[in-house]
């Protein structure tokens, strides 16, 4: 466990060193939220749409973006590169589990991003639309758990997609499709905007549980909702970790490295 914690510590230091990168992401986060705030401000005229008012909608986007900015999305590229370049061969000789090593190596960065972007999300939400009416502080522990599960689930799905490089010469279509499913089924708009039949299915799928799951918990919390969503997130999280193990353990047998 100690070695994984050390890796997480190094990853925090790396995040702090590459300040320009962090600043760029902060600016991008701000611009994205600003544009969506401008859009929703124009769309709403005091009414509710699909059960969301303007304040909820702006906070919703702040939260879905928060998940994506903290999920260590770069892991797909890292996996892709390590497998295709053969660099993974060196990692296999080291005394750690490769999957967890990658997770620990990104964990520090994700924790750092979570601190920065949570602050950004709260500040921007407050500036643009003010506090969420009826927000219950008792919801905070549930929200934190839900966010952690979302970020972990997304990380391991992305890792699995990156590890598909063992099997496919070109694995980026899987990444493109996955990313777009997240976009359209929860990130840009809540699933309540979609037809009822689609909502019924999407409530149980990981794409919506990653973005819509925790964001809805922030803007419209109820214990009933938390009890329904968190177990589903746990199940999908276990599925994502298992998938990464499966893809890795099967894929590594196919590995052929020539030269150095």
């Amino acid at each position: 466990m100690g070695k994984y914690l050390s890796l997480a510590g190094i990853s925090v230091k790396n995040a702090l060193v590459y300040r320009a990168n962090v600043t760029g992401r902060i600016i991008f986060y701000f611009v994205f939220i600003f544009v969506f705030f401008s859009l929703w401000r124009m769309v709403y005229s005091g009414n509710e749409i699909a059960g969301y008012n303007l304040t909820q909608m702006v906070w919703y986007v702040c939260m879905t973006e928060l998940v994506l900015f903290c999920s260590g999305a770069g892991i797909f590229g890292v996996m892709n590169h390590e497998v295709k370049s053969g660099a993974i061969a060196y990692e296999l000789l080291r005394p750690w589990n490769y999957i967890y090593k990658q997770f620990a190596g990104t964990l520090g960065n994700m924790t750092f991003s979570a601190s920065v972007f949570t602050l950004m999300a709260i500040v921007l939400g407050m500036i643009f639309v003010g506090p969420l009416p009826g927000f219950n502080a008792a919801a905070i522990p549930f929200i934190i758990v839900s966010f952690m599960l979302s970020i972990t689930m997304n990380f391991f799905f992305l890792m699995s997609l990156g590890l598909l490089a063992f099997y496919f010469e070109e694995n980026s279509p899987f990444y493109f499709i996955y990313q777009k499913l997240l976009f359209v089924f929860g990130m840009l708009i809540p699933i309540e905007f979609l037809p009822l039949w689609a909502q019924g299915i999407l409530r149980y799928l990981p794409f919506s549980l990653i973005t819509w799951g925790p964001a809805k918990m922030v803007v419209d919390f109820s214990f009933g909702y938390a009890i329904q969503i968190i177990p589903l997130q746990v199940i999908w999280c276990i599925a994502a970790v298992s998938l990464a193990h499966f893809v890795f353990s099967r894929g590594v047998r196919k590995l052929n490295v020539h030269g150095g």
Partner: protein
């Protein structure tokens, strides 16, 4: 002057055919990237379709077709810019590492030579997406006419804004992030209705950072055509391109070569 322009157009076309044949070597990867990017853009069309369907009306005077026109122009304009000048976002890096030396040694303008040296594979997806969108929209003759004109002004403006941002590296040290952020701004602001932006943001995108001229002014021309506005569109694109060119060339005087040894294959 005209001979110089002709020579540089020939250079751009040479780079184009060379880069395209390089991409064609890895055909599957190229096609995957093209369709991946088209799919990426299509996800936003889905978003707008759901939104307009839910609202049952327009957003700030824009209908679904209008927003898709913004997407078509920005996507194809962006595609054109990154097919011909994909190195625009590497200018800061080239200045910082001394990689620009290579282009200074060659008898062609270093700005044109350096930014035209690379082609983006995904840009073909953007280019095609805009055209497909226009076909699917069943666009009017006027929309097609403005689309055909504004994709070129859009490409020129997108490239010029990125060059302006990155050229600041000559003056103030590494401005890679500024260049990339300006580039991100350009894309983000051009794909949403003009009417959602107000006050200083609107003023900014219609003046110092003429992002509004990429898609918003062409859409205005579709509905309210005037020769004055069309000339203004060409004027702004031309002046901004000259500004970018001037800023780069003046900055070049401050450039200090590095000792980097590279091989161009």
């Amino acid at each position: 002057m005209f001979t110089e322009v002709k020579k540089h157009i020939r250079l751009i076309l040479k780079y184009f055919s060379f880069n395209l044949s390089a991409l064609a070597e890895y055909r599957t990867s190229f096609l995957v990237q093209v369709f991946g990017m088209a799919l990426n853009n299509a996800s936003f069309a889905f978003f707008w379709w759901v939104l307009f369907d839910k609202l049952g009306g327009g957003i700030g005077g824009y209908g679904f077709k209008d927003v898709m026109f913004l997407w078509a122009v920005s996507s194809t304009g962006f595609g054109l810019a990154h097919i011909f000048f994909a190195n625009m976002n590497s200018i800061s890096g080239m200045i910082m590492t001394g990689e620009l030396d290579t282009y200074l040694l060659q008898p062609k303008n270093p700005l044109i030579n350096s930014i035209a040296a690379r082609m983006s594979a995904t840009a073909w997806g953007d280019l095609l997406y805009g055209i497909i969108l226009m076909i699917l929209l069943n666009a009017s003759g006027m929309m097609w006419l403005m689309f055909s004109i504004s994709i070129f002004t859009a490409a020129l403006l997108i490239t010029s804004i990125a060059v302006v941002g990155h050229s600041l590296t000559f003056y103030f040290g590494n401005m890679d992030m500024v260049g990339r952020t300006l580039w991100e701004f350009t894309i983000t602001f051009s794909i949403y209705p003009e009417t959602i932006f107000k006050g200083p943001v609107k003023a900014l995108i219609m003046t110092a950072l003429p992002i509004g001229f990429i898609t918003h002014i062409p859409l205005r021309l579709v509905y309210n055509f005037s020769w004055g506005t069309l000339i203004l569109l060409f004027g702004v694109a031309g002046i901004y391109a000259l500004l970018a060119f001037g800023l780069f060339m003046l900055g070049l005087r401050r450039y200090e070569s590095g000792n980097l040894i590279i091989t161009r294959m």
